[in-house]
Amino acid sequence: MTGPQQVDTAQIRARYPDVFDRPASARLATPAMIVAAFAILVYGLVDLDFSPSRFFAGLSQLGWISLMMIPPDPGSSLPVYLKALGETLSIALLGTTLAAVFALPVSLLAARNIVPSKILRFPIRRFLDSIRGVDTLIWALVWINVVGLGPFAGVLAIAVSDFGAFGKLFSEAIEGADQKQVEGIRASGGSPLHEIRFGLLPQVLPVIAGQVLYFIESNTRSATIIGIVGAGGIGLQLAEQIRVLEWQKVSFLILMILVAVAAIDFVSSKLRFAIIGRRAVA
């Protein structure tokens, strides 16, 4: 029988030392990392009270819950839920728009090609970072303290937390813009404001519009949950029905959220393509 046996393994070994004779440190690095990752995992499971008995008890409980969810049924409160869904969509739309309006001027200040001074940019960037570091739900709790329970607090929460994200994204878009147009405006005697208005904004507005649409989409998701802390929308209904264990209503609400998110996804991706063209989205 002829075949692979005839290959001169010794010669191949000699020719590719870095494949056949890797140093011990290189060979041990990957297993060591896996062992370390696994050790932290085990420590985590123990520290976080993961006991198998608790896990399986919970799992069977979860099985019961899912059985009770079938079939999804809104009972008599369908109008209330539809209104709540409308509230959620309103919160997402208004919050994102407000955030974009306020973030645009600030993002100009945070862009390297507009404000060259690092000392001026640094505090603005850290300010945006700190706003972003706080979750939307936390902002919702803060605003509930200010304007009371209800969807208005949700709008403000989304507006503030997205302000941080937009500030960063917009300023990155501005930094990526072509400087030649700006120089052209300057050469023809335009003021700094003219440079921004005619040289910069036409370039970045389509990018920004795409990002805003994308955020409206993802904020529909966030807006469904801020109701859990009392900031209006469908999350409020969801949290209530979970608390009173009305599982059929819960599954109906979850289905409503899924359908709404899918619909918004569809519409906003169509709009995004219309605004910036198919190739720019990718």
Partner: protein, 294 residues
């Protein structure tokens, strides 16, 4: 050097102007129409969300003074004048933060493992059967569209209060999100190695193991790190519904109006998120740096 600007005769200019006007007019109308629709949608949304500008203006002072209050200690001084008093509970808070990090670590790792197993079935080029791909894709979609905190709410009832519910919620959400990203990486992978391995008579499993996995691990690691970063943020609010972590302390402080505690806990959360962002960014840079050098 002089440049002569030629001025067109009146007639020709008028024709060109008219053509330009016509061309622009259509675009302007479309823009105007779009803006009108958008404004109408905003107005509708404002009614739907019960926006009340008077409330905002009446209570806006509250927003400012809220920050004033959370930066004031009980004795009326500013918080940064007495760090010992401000961060009095730092031992407890650091412990809760550690729990938050552990929740996101365990959740991310479990989620990434499931995503790793499932993504080969979800990717177009490696899935063994179309019906399997369809099922797995819908499953992943479901797992990432339902918000993590909704899973947490349900799990708290099934598994009891505590970090276990938070971990499982984060794990499920991560499975959905990472499964999609992972399968996109696989779809971009080079299929020639797969053909090579298959031509030796290897099974589907060996094809994945020896042809696909070596190509995609760096991308997987990078996405998993990014997910960890997001999950730290998410885990910081899991406590709001009783699923463990620092959020529990925060929600108690906010609800009970322990003002200076709110700012102290927020500060620890923000600092932690910063550190995690920087650390994972550095780690990602190293992973991709190695990739580029090869």
């Amino acid at each position: 050097m002089t440049i002569a600007v030629s001025i067109l005769p009146e007639q020709q200019l008028a024709a060109l102007n008219a053509a330009y006007g016509q061309a622009v007019a259509r675009r302007r109308w479309r823009l105007l129409f779009g803006a009108a629709v958008f404004a109408a949608a905003l107005l509708l949304a404002a009614i739907g969300a019960e926006v009340n500008l008077r409330t905002l203006f009446t209570y806006f002072g509250n927003f400012v003074s809220y920050f004033d209050r959370i930066f004031t200690l009980d004795n009326g001084q500013r918080v940064w004048t007495d760090f010992g008093e401000w961060l009095w509970g730092w031992r407890k808070w650091l412990k809760m933060l550690g729990e938050t990090l552990l929740i996101s670590y365990v959740g991310t790792l479990i989620g990434a493992t499931f995503a790793f197993v499932l993504n080969f079935f979800a990717a177009e080029n490696t899935s063994p059967a179309p019906w399997l791909r369809f099922v797995v894709r819908r499953l992943l979609e479901f797992a990432r569209t339902v918000p993590g905190i909704v899973f947490a709410l349900i799990f708290v009832i099934a598994f009891g209060l505590g970090p276990m519910a938070g971990v499982l919620a984060i794990a499920i959400h991560s499975t959905g999100a990472l499964g999609k990203l992972f399968s996109e990486i696989v779809e971009n992978a080079d299929m020639k190695p797969v053909e090579g391995v298959r031509s030796t008579g290897a099974s589907w499993l060996s094809c994945m193991r020896f042809a696909i996995v070596p190509q995609v691990t760096a991308g997987y690691a990078s996405y998993a790190l990014l997910r960890f970063e997001i999950n730290v943020r998410e885990a910081s609010v899991m406590g709001f519904v009783g699923a463990g972590g620092i959020g529990q302390e925060l929600v108690v402080a906010i609800r009970k109006f322990y003002y200076s505690d709110v700012s102290a806990i927020l500060l620890t959360i923000i600092v932690t998120v910063f550190i995690i962002d920087i650390a994972t960014g550095w780690l990602r840079g190293r992973l991709f740096g190695k990739e580029a050098r090869r």
